[in-house]
């Protein structure tokens, strides 16, 4: 079977891009990574994602697929050989989609908001919301993981990819703001899961190093300051 061209438009520091990289790696799919600067969108990006003009974009045999959650599901559908990313049971699949949507719509946006928050009160309000969310995710881990190492059970699955990709910026935010968001006492299952994920070879290969992300964060902050 001929391997069709697989290209990924993205940038190393974007967790939505990291998700797609994780999915491709787990399926052992070779691809060309095309670095796209989110502050200076390339022609190839605009051509392949004219509606939203956002990364990541997966281009498979010249056909673009956009939006990270949709891309990960596409990868699972288009490459049925190899480990399944989504659960095989329809109900477990619905749960996986639910928690992925929750992470994206409700929880993950709080991380960037926390970094950008000014003032103690604003920060504390966001930290409280993040903590509430982590407790919900801890419960989700118990239900979805069914006592195993990952949300996907014995193997890395959809929620592991979606939530796991947020860990890099979560660590940076903890350092920058000076707060521990994910801790052993409040959410022990999740804390252990996070340690397991960041020491996993596939994640280590894809997720950006904390040091590099911190440097990027500082560059962005300096840029924002200089332009105001």
């Amino acid at each position: 079977m001929a391997t069709r061209d697989v290209k990924l438009l993205g940038t190393w520091s974007c967790p939505y891009v990291n998700r797609v990289q994780l999915a491709l790696k787990l399926k052992s799919i070779e691809y060309e990574f095309i670095e796209d600067n989110p502050y200076n969108r390339s022609e190839i990006l605009v051509k392949n994602n004219p509606v939203l003009k956002k990364i990541p974009v997966l281009i498979h045999g010249n056909k673009p697929v956009c939006e990270s959650l949709i891309i990960v599901q596409y990868i699972d559908d288009a490459w049925p050989i190899g480990p399944s990313l989504l659960p095989s049971d329809a109900y477990d699949r619905a749960l996986a989609r639910f928690w992925a949507a929750y992470t994206d719509d409700k929880w993950y946006p709080l991380i960037k908001m926390l970094r950008q928050a000014e003032g103690k009160e604003e920060k504390e309000a966001i930290i409280a919301k993040l903590a509430e969310g982590l407790i919900l995710l801890e419960d989700a881990f118990v239900i979805c993981g069914k006592g195993k190492d990952y949300f996907g059970g014995e193997n890395i699955g959809y929620i592991d990819i979606v939530l796991g990709s947020s860990l890099a910026w979560l660590r940076v935010t903890e350092i920058v703001v000076g707060v521990q968001l994910l801790d052993q006492t409040r959410t022990p299952g999740l804390a252990k899961w996070a340690e397991r994920v960041i020491s996993n070879d596939v994640f280590k290969d894809v997720l950006p190093e904390t040091k590099k992300l911190l440097e990027l964060h500082e560059k962005i902050q300096a840029f924002i300051k200089s332009s105001t």
Binding site: D77, A78, L136
Partner: protein
């Protein structure tokens, strides 16, 4: 063992309507429980503790939340009749992309039309029409978004049709004027019993919207 299917819902919810359409397409019998969103039932709070929203499908005591997730679940559980999602992975990704677009962009711009006034309302109208035009382009000359067969994306969008009357009356514009092919498509969908029996009455929706606008002083 017979399946027990319960839908927690509210008549005018375009999200709830999606689930009704999907269940009807599959010929699934279910108990339709109408919620009072001001006094949410214990059942709703237990079945959707995270968002406390409808629709919630309860299948053999297990809850599934979020309308598009529910529709996909229904399609996967009852796969022998009226498949909704395309079988081709790329077409499936496209259907999911546009359904997501509808939820984020079409829904938000629609909300702006009936919950705001002045410039914000006009912006909402402009964005709403642009978004519908994009979808009209996706439909092209096809019978349905799913091609020859009614599918996932048709389910995702058709329920908005019940809200068009309210958007048009408050926004003072005609959707048909801007998107005639989309309206043709909508009328085609309405010929399906699964759709005509599931969508709420547009006048009921308009009355509800007027009440809310008056309550929050948006109608001045």
């Amino acid at each position: 063992m017979a399946d027990e299917v319960i839908l927690l819902d509210v008549d005018i919810s375009l999200f709830g309507m999606r689930v009704r359409v999907a269940l009807a397409e599959k010929g699934i019998e279910y108990e339709h429980k109408i919620e009072d969103l001001v006094n949410k039932s214990q059942l709703l709070l237990e079945m959707n503790p995270v968002h406390k929203k409808i629709p919630v499908l309860i299948h053999n005591k297990k809850p599934i939340c979020e309308s598009l997730i529910i529709v996909q679940y229904i399609d996967e559980m009852w796969k022998d009749k009226s498949p909704l999602l395309p079988s081709d992975p790329y077409q499936r990704a496209q259907a999911r992309f546009w359904a997501d677009f509808i939820d984020k962009m079409v829904y938000e711009s629609g909300i702006k039309i009936w919950t705001t006034k002045g410039e914000e309302k006009e912006t909402g109208k402009k964005e709403f029409i642009e978004n519908l035009k994009l979808l009209e382009g996706v439909l092209g000359d096809k019978h349905y978004f799913g091609g020859e067969e009614f599918g996932y994306l048709d389910v995702a969008l058709i329920t908005f049709y019940s809200w068009f009357y309210a958007y048009e009356a408050i926004g003072e514009f005609s959707i048909e004027q801007h998107c005639p092919k989309l309206i043709e498509w909508a009328k085609r969908c309405m010929e399906r019993e699964s759709v005509s029996k599931s969508l709420a009455d547009p006048h009921e929706i308009y009355d509800f919207v007027l009440i809310l606008r008056k309550k929050y002083g948006i109608d001045q």
